[in-house]
């Protein structure tokens, strides 16, 4: 069992959540409450990671974050090391390929809040922040929980993009999925099997628990 890879994967998932969740929540609410020309294009762009092969995303990220790119050069001048093949680079890549997994459940949750409830909050004298804090976030909580679980589980299991952008540097970019691949390549089936099993159980438990929680929350909220 490669505990270093497991720890790294969990750290990557938590870092991704910390960066992505607030940004995705704001984007999701914005998409839920506004209509504008070209909205379908914006939604399509955000959903791209769902349909693009991970190697394609990985390739473009590698180009965008490499030493020749403005982003890569800026990062290197700032930190002294490259963005690609580093944990920071993995976080950037992970945030990007998880966008649809975070945005879509939250967008659906914000869309489910009726305009009358939002307007009632305004008539109650609540500011936008108070409305978010007291009304919208508690109501959208099942969607936020789903977004967290999906992002967490998806980050643990992502392989293609991580391999393209990060390679397999122990303690830096070798996540559990990469480690399983490496162990399989070197015929260490016992270790690969144990980690694959662990990933399977963790993924199944998190998703089942989150579905159960969401169902309970929805049942309590059903029928206004």
């Amino acid at each position: 069992m490669d505990w270093q890879a497991i720890t790294l994967s969990v750290e990557l998932a938590l870092a991704t959540l910390a960066v992505l969740l607030p940004l995705a929540a704001m984007t999701a609410r914005w998409l839920a409450v506004t209509g504008f020309r070209g909205k379908a294009w914006v939604e399509g762009l955000l959903a791209l990671p769902l349909v693009l092969p991970p190697t394609v995303i990985g390739y473009y990220l590698l180009i965008a974050m490499g030493g020749q790119s403005p982003l890569g050069q800026w990062f290197e001048s700032l930190t002294g090391h490259t963005l690609t093949f580093s944990f920071s680079g993995l976080v950037v890549a992970s945030v990007l390929f998880n966008i649809p997994f975070a945005v879509q459940p939250m967008q659906r949750a914000f869309e489910a809040i009726t305009p009358e409830v939002r307007e009632a909050a305004q008539c109650c004298g609540l500011t936008l922040w108070r409305t978010l804090y007291r009304i919208e976030l508690p109501l959208a909580w099942p969607g936020i929980l789903s977004a967290c679980v999906m992002t967490f589980a998806h980050t643990l299991g992502e392989f293609g993009v991580v391999l393209m952008v990060g390679g397999s540097i122990p303690g830096e970019t070798r996540t559990i999925a990469i480690s399983i691949y490496d162990r399989t390549q070197s015929f260490d089936h016992a270790s690969a099997g144990a980690m694959a099993g662990l990933l399977l159980v963790v993924s199944l438990v998190t998703i089942a628990v989150s579905y159960g929680l969401v169902e309970r929350l929805m049942r309590r909220r059903r029928a206004v």
Binding site: E116, A121, Q122, C123, L126, I135, R221, A223
Partner: protein, 361 residues
């Protein structure tokens, strides 16, 4: 001391100017899609109107480059489906409207509002555990908790059953007696408007057709569209012929009617006019000396339909086979004077009850 509105908008179309009296219940009455709810939303600041002026007692909410946001307006809104916060108890719903107060005062004020709206005992229930009438009252409690200058009610009784609605009418009137605030009630129900409002605005296609004290608007529509909106079936065309003894003479088929209420500069010519079915009088056949009755018109009874203690009678005035006029009479009068299909009767129209209608609103 009034709420002054001047609203012009393109989608939905609004071209609405009105002055709603302070401290009274004003009903905005109109068919579905007439723009009533948009007017209410504009007052609340929820609809950004292209060109608008909204003033309350000299305080500008909209206009002159000012737009006071909804949360800063002294309003309480009860939306059509109540807009209760589903994750909160009734008490917390009401307390949410009181975040401007220190926490200690919130509970006290919320409980007072709940008491006023007659939902005491239901404080801990969530919206899905309340009936339609209870939800409506919780929404009302939340709206009045802030002690708003203007209370906005958007068809608040449409989703409750008839008996609950009648009870809520009484409670709303009682509440208004206590609070004496300005209430704007949106409804498409003529009876509801007549029972609750002391001031009535008739709205059609986003425009004000007529406004004034309810009794006056109900009995004297100013234009044909208003008459249709007030469900007045008796709208006819006559010919103004001249004037005698200070009253205008109106030719209606073979009949000559005396009419009050026409302006002095009225010109002879065609005139649309209306009369309320309840204002059409039956001349008693047992009193042949009824020469004092105004505008007697002989007619033939076509149909009698009894509805509760009242009968709707359709008659054909003599010499006018294409015209059907409606009367509403107590059923005891129907029996007593044997008003039956095929019988000849005489009805009378008081000159003051003949309402001239303008072609344009």
């Amino acid at each position: 001391m009034s709420l002054t509105l001047d609203l012009r908008h393109d989608g939905p179309v609004l071209d609405f100017r009105a002055e709603l009296p302070a401290g009274r219940i004003t009903a905005l009455l109109g068919p579905s899609g007439s723009g009533k709810t948009s007017i209410l939303r504009a007052i609340a600041g929820l609809l950004h109107v292209r060109q608008s002026s909204i003033r309350l007692d000299g305080e500008t909410w909209d206009g002159d480059g000012i737009h006071v946001p909804t949360r800063s307006r002294s309003i309480g809104l009860v939306p059509q489906s109540y807009g209760l916060f589903p994750h909160m108890s009734a008490l917390r719903n009401v307390e949410t409207a009181l975040t401007h107060l220190p926490a200690a005062q919130r509970r006290v004020r919320a409980l007072q509002a709940i008491d006023l709206a007659h939902v005491a005992g239901l404080e801990e229930r969530r919206p899905h555990e309340l009936s339609g009438g209870q939800k409506q009252r919780v929404a009302l409690a939340r709206a009045i908790a802030r002690e708003p200058s203007v209370l906005l009610l958007d068809e608040p009784f449409s989703a409750v059953d008839r008996s609950t609605r009648k009870r809520l009418y009484v409670e709303l009137r009682r509440l208004h007696e206590q609070l004496r605030n300005t209430i704007v009630l949106v409804t498409h129900d003529l009876d509801e408007a007549a029972q609750l409002a002391s001031h009535l605005c008739l709205v059609r296609h986003g425009r004000l057709l007529q406004s004034g004290p309810t009794a006056e608007v109900l009995s004297r529509p100013r234009c044909e569209q208003a008459a249709r909106l007030l469900d007045i079936p008796n709208v006819f065309t006559g010919q103004v012929e001249g004037r005698t003894d200070g009253r205008w003479l109106l030719r209606w088929g073979p009949h000559l009617l005396r009419v009050a209420g026409l302006p002095d500069d009225q010109r002879p010519g065609p005139l649309r006019w209306a009369v309320l079915p309840s204002n059409v009088l039956l001349a008693r056949p047992d009193k042949p000396w009824a020469s004092h009755l105004e505008n007697p018109v002989p007619a033939l009874v076509q149909e009698v339909v009894e509805l509760g203690g009242e009968a709707v009678v359709q008659v054909m005035p003599e010499g006018m086979p294409e015209i059907s006029l409606q009367l509403r009479l107590p059923t005891r009068a129907i029996r007593r004077y044997r008003v039956e299909p095929g019988r000849a009767i005489t009805f009378c129209l008081r000159s003051a009850d003949i309402v001239p209608l303008n072609g344009e609103a």
